[in-house]
């Protein structure tokens, strides 16, 4: 049995190694034209309007129809800072006027699929809709642009963003994969038109959709990046069940699923198909955390909350959980590896991240005793009813806490009721929580950990003015070193000193795909790099 398992692991590793080398050598190959890329999408888009939705289920099938002002470099999507122009000219402009003005020159060769020219007026109308939506129009991420004072187009080829204050968060926020450029004349007539209709300027033209089944796009011959796209078209097939999506790749009914699979699915595919499968992996810009309810006893006591985090062996968990769940990297509240994030050495100074788990748990037991928390009671642990990674990590957490003498009973609910408890009734002692973001932008991503009256996605009900003050100071700085110092302060306050909420592990994105899919490179987010303009099929 052991030898079979060893053989399977060896095959998997060999295939992954092959996949990585194949992906690496893909750049050297000459891309081939033609073909239809068939891929599976685990969910269906609720509407077609990127400005009002936040799901990857919209980005994957509809994103290829649209252009962005700027985007993550599709040839280097794993970089956290490589942002390039899409409909603008040259490089992303450097700010002027004390870093408060950004002037973009718009390309003259961009056309909407209706044939009309895309101008600076369209870009301005788009961003006005995103930042200052009229009443009754939903814009999901408008607060990301709180630093923007105005957007104007002095002429048809120039867009000027004026900021209230200089901010390093602005450019990554502008590169959001949801900021699709809409046509001003259409928005002037009907602000809701894009909810049910598609008219972009992206590499593919919308062909058809069968609700619940698939969406099809075909090559845009007038695409502004000359020579692209390589594909004749794509077909996005909606398939909810993970097992079916895995089998679809195995049976070649689909070539890829862009979101990500758990390790077992990767190993199954590699074992079954060997070199016909390429695997790409990355740290995912999604973190799983747990949040104590600060309004409930004994979790209103900072000692009890610290005990909870001290009980968790993150370094050991990374090793074992990564074999069965889509989590792996140990990190704090910001994306590991980003310039503003703490290093591993810095993290190891924080309670709960100490490398010596025995020492941590001894301290946890001491704190629990000192706090006088009732350890004979069973506390309620709210868990989102989704296997990967919530239920798996939650089961592991309950065992971790048990080891310091505090008992939890898992209460698992489907997403709707789970969110209702988390956001409305607040009837939980501790809950699982997650933060899944797009372009890595720690300055925006950490707003989750601000006080309850400032963050709509903070569920612990805590008020922490020290964190708020540090954040307000940090957001107005442009010096990265200074920002980093403040970010470390926020991290320590949140995870250790005030023990507000605790990250556990960062998700690990695993995309096994048919080896004939070339040009697509994995990024830290399943929302990014989905234009498919540089993807080609080696068939």
């Amino acid at each position: 049995m052991k030898s079979i398992r060893r053989k399977a692991v060896c095959t998997a590793l060999a295939a992954i190694a092959f996949g990585i080398s194949a992906a690496g050598s893909a750049g050297a190959q000459t891309p081939k034209r033609g073909g239809i890329l068939e891929f599976v999408v685990p969910d269906e888009p609720p509407s077609y309007d990127g400005h009002r939705e936040g799901t990857f289920a919209l980005i994957h099938p509809v994103g290829p129809f649209y252009s962005l002002l700027i985007r993550i470099n599709p040839d280097n999507p794993s970089s956290l800072t490589d942002i390039v122009c899409d409909v603008c000219v040259g490089k992303v402009p450097a700010p002027t006027d004390d870093n408060t003005t950004y002037t973009f020159k718009i390309r003259g060769d961009v056309k909407f699929h209706t044939g009309e020219k895309l101008t600076a007026q369209d870009v301005v109308a788009t961003y006005k809709k995103i930042i200052w939506p009229p009443e009754g129009v939903r814009s999901q991420r408008r607060q990301m642009y709180s630093m923007v004072e105005s957007v104007n187009a002095p002429d048809d080829s120039t867009v000027v963003f004026k900021l209230k204050f200089a901010s390093n968060a602005f450019i990554p926020a502008l590169a959001s994969p949801f900021n699709w450029i809409y046509q001003k004349s259409v928005l002037d007539k009907d602000m809701h038109w894009y909810e049910k209709n598609i008219n972009g300027s992206g590499p593919f033209i919308f062909k058809e959709r069968e609700a619940g089944a698939f969406m099809r796009g075909e090559r845009n011959p007038d695409y502004h990046h000359k020579g692209l796209p390589y594909l004749d078209g794509f077909k996005a097939i909606f398939a909810k069940k993970e097992s079916l999506r895995v089998q679809a790749i195995r049976g070649d009914r689909a070539a890829i699923e862009f979101r990500g699979f758990p390790p077992a699915a990767r190993d199954d595919l590699v074992k079954a198909l060997g070199k016909e499968i390429t695997v790409q992996e990355s740290v995912w810009n999604c973190g799983i955390s747990f949040v104590p309810n600060h309004k409930r006893k004994p979790f209103d006591d900072v000692r009890v909350r610290r005990a909870l985090t001290l009980a968790v062996d993150r370094w050991g968990g990374s090793k074992y959980l990564s074999k069965i769940a889509l989590v792996k990297t140990v990190g704090g509240i910001t994306y590991p590896g980003h310039a503003l994030s703490p290093t591993n050495e810095e993290m190891q100074q924080i309670a709960g991240w100490w490398p010596d788990i025995k020492k941590s748990r001894a301290e946890a037991r001491r704190l629990l005793k000192e706090s006088g928390a009732d350890l004979s009671k069973e506390y309620k642990f709210l868990v989102r009813g989704v296997d990967q990674p919530y239920k798996i990590v939650a089961t592991w957490l309950v065992d971790q806490w048990k080891q310091v003498g505090i008992n939890f009973k898992q209460e698992t609910h489907p997403t709707g009721p789970y969110l209702n408890i988390l956001r409305q009734t607040k009837e939980f002692d501790v809950s699982t929580d997650a933060s899944c973001n797009y372009v890595v932008n720690p300055l925006v991503d950490v707003t989750k950990y601000l006080s309850a009256d400032r963050s709509s996605i903070q569920y612990g009900q805590f008020i922490d003015r020290d964190v708020d003050a540090a954040y307000d100071k940090m957001i107005r700085l442009t010096d990265v070193k200074e920002q980093r110092k403040l970010m470390l302060d926020i991290t320590k306050l949140t995870l250790d000193t005030h023990a507000n909420q605790f990250s556990i592990l960062w998700w690990h994105r695993i995309v096994p795909h048919r080896s004939y899919v070339k040009g697509w490179k994995i990024s830290p987010s399943h929302h990014m790099n989905q234009h498919l303009d540089n993807v080609w099929l080696d068939k």
């Binding site: 269906e44 609720p46 509407s47 939705e53 936040g54 799901t55 990857f56 009754g136 129009v137 939903r138 814009s139 999901q140 991420r141 408008r142 607060q143 990301m144 909810e195 049910k196 069968e210 609700a211 619940g212 089944a213 077909k235 097939i237 909606f238 398939a239 909810k240 069940k241 097992s243 079916l244 089998q247 679809a248 195995r250 049976g251 070649d252 009914r253 689909a254 079954a272 999604c286 489907p414 997403t415 709707g416 009721p417 969110l419 209702n420 408890i421 956001r423 409305q424 009734t425 929580d433 933060s435 899944c436 973001n437 797009y438 925006v444 991503d445 707003t447 989750k448 709509s456 996605i457």
Partner: protein, 323 residues
Amino acid sequence: MRKYIFKRLLLVIPTLFGAAALVFIMLRLIPGDICEIRMAGDGGYFDKAAVDTCRGEMGTNKPMLTQFVSFVWGLMRFDFGTSMWTGQPVLTEVALRFELSLQVAIMSTIIGVIIAIPLGIISAVRQNTWLDYMVRGFSIAGIATPAFWLGLMIIIGLLVSTQHFLGTPWMPPITYIPIWEDPVYNLSMLIWPTVATGYRYSAVVTRMTRSALLEVLREDYVRTARAKGLWEKVIIRKHALKNAMLPVVTIIGLEFAFLMGGLVVTEQVFNLNGIGKLFIESVLNNDYTMTQSLVMLVVMIFVMVNFAVDIGYAWLDPRIRYN
């Protein structure tokens, strides 16, 4: 007879109204908000004001009574409203999936009946022989085996066996093409789920055929026929089977109605874009308009089937009218 039909028709109205009230209340008892699922579901950043705008768009911020009156008024005009999740008219969404669900239901019924009737007869006629035991084992296994599990096994079996024998793994298509556009493609997709559901279907019908036939075979008129010296085949076919078919036909009808909206998991396993899949998705998304409309559609189908059955019984057995 006319008076009886009229009375039955009148009873349909309070039944539908009661079902509408029940489904409306029960759906609102499920905790959750479509707007929060839509925005907070991915764990990403979102603006609080957007949730309020969304509730305004969906109408979920209106008083319950207003929502209920609007729902019932729509039903009375056969206006099922628009899906809260997709924004498309409910009837358009249902119509898209109806064809596939109907084809699966018909094919499953055909497979089920073709297998079930002969097996049920053999089992009854050869009662307590090894043949009967085999048929009973086969049908009990059919009832005990969930169709979705069988479906999964079929897919995995196909992948493994084709890879082993042909060198390339093959699985059924995962997108639907109507039978008149590409019959081979269509059947290569739908034959597998219909086998999975048809097996369970056949098991139910086999057992019903067997017990109904056994009951009839013990009747006095069958004994009389045998005493007259009629051939056993003639007794079974002409005298017993026809009379035993009444409950079997009822079961076939009810199973057919169930298949139209009840293949919730099997449709997910084979990625069939049918009404069952739409049902489960609308429940998970807290899409009230879609769920309550689908429930009402199913209720209507069942009420109509029951109505037709009642009328049929009254026609077959006049005593029912007088009672």
